[in-house]
Symmetry: C3
Subunit: 110 residues, 3 copies
């Protein structure tokens, strides 16, 4: 039996998750998406997997996308965006993933 | 138990629905989409909700996106598109939503 | 009972599938997507159908998107991309579709 894993992750973590999935030989389809809370862009992954591999896919998503604190230094801020300039390092929350595992009636490849 | 509500709505109603969801503290992921009948752009919302809140989400979608008649005046038509010019007010159908409520095996947030 | 058919197809086959669906009076929503294996763009179709029409939708997808060999002549290659130039005709694999049929708890139209 197949399951369809739908994972919404920050753009920041998207290519890292893609690479990790490819290494495990897992195929994914990516859709550009946005959140209605956070305005920033995110990516929606659709991954079809056998039921017995769902847990390892979930672990892969968690390992590559989990919400974590990151120190943002003044230099970094200046480099990317003048308006975001802060004169001292700050801790910001980045990453995080929202994941749905859906039942699948039929899975086919043509 | 969670459900995944997938709602396809007209771009016209998209930001209003977003605002209404935020007010109810409901998170949504938005995907740009198009219909194969109507060529115009629409937006696909994915909303994860507890089973007992599904009905209120459906009502929210209906309230903000339902198909309705709208009077389109010559001035409006001219302003947006010269080819769409009509010399008298016409009633057009706008809005509408197509909604799927899907069962969810697992819901996780990392 | 409705089912939600999610089909990921190559951009190359997308408009042909759209046309075939319209001819059968089947509504679809299209989302731009990319694969993490093949970098090329693809299109994700979401099609809501009655259970008893699922098989005919699957056949339609297979007929219009199935993986097949195509002869790519030097002329064609030169015309589209100088780097892809090959001095003799080559056989390449094009098309293919990945399809999920999902159970639906509720289907509504507003
Ligand atoms: Ni299986
Ligand atoms: Ni629950
Ligand atoms: Ni039915």
């Amino acid at each position: 039996m197949k399951k369809l894993v739908i994972a919404v992750v920050q753009d920041k973590d998207s290519s890292r998750l893609s690479d990790a999935l490819v290494k495990q030989n897992l195929r994914a389809t990516k859709l550009a998406s946005t959140g209605s809370f956070l305005k920033s862009g995110n990516t929606t992954f659709m991954i079809g997997v056998e039921e017995d591999r769902v847990d390892s896919v979930l672990k892969l998503i968690q390992d590559n996308c989990r919400s974590r604190k990151q120190i943002m230094s003044p230099i970094t801020s200046m480099g990317t965006n003048a308006e975001g300039y802060v004169p001292y390092p700050v801790e910001v929350e980045v990453g995080g993933a929202t994941v749905f595992v859906l039942p699948v009636d039929q899975f086919l490849q043509f």
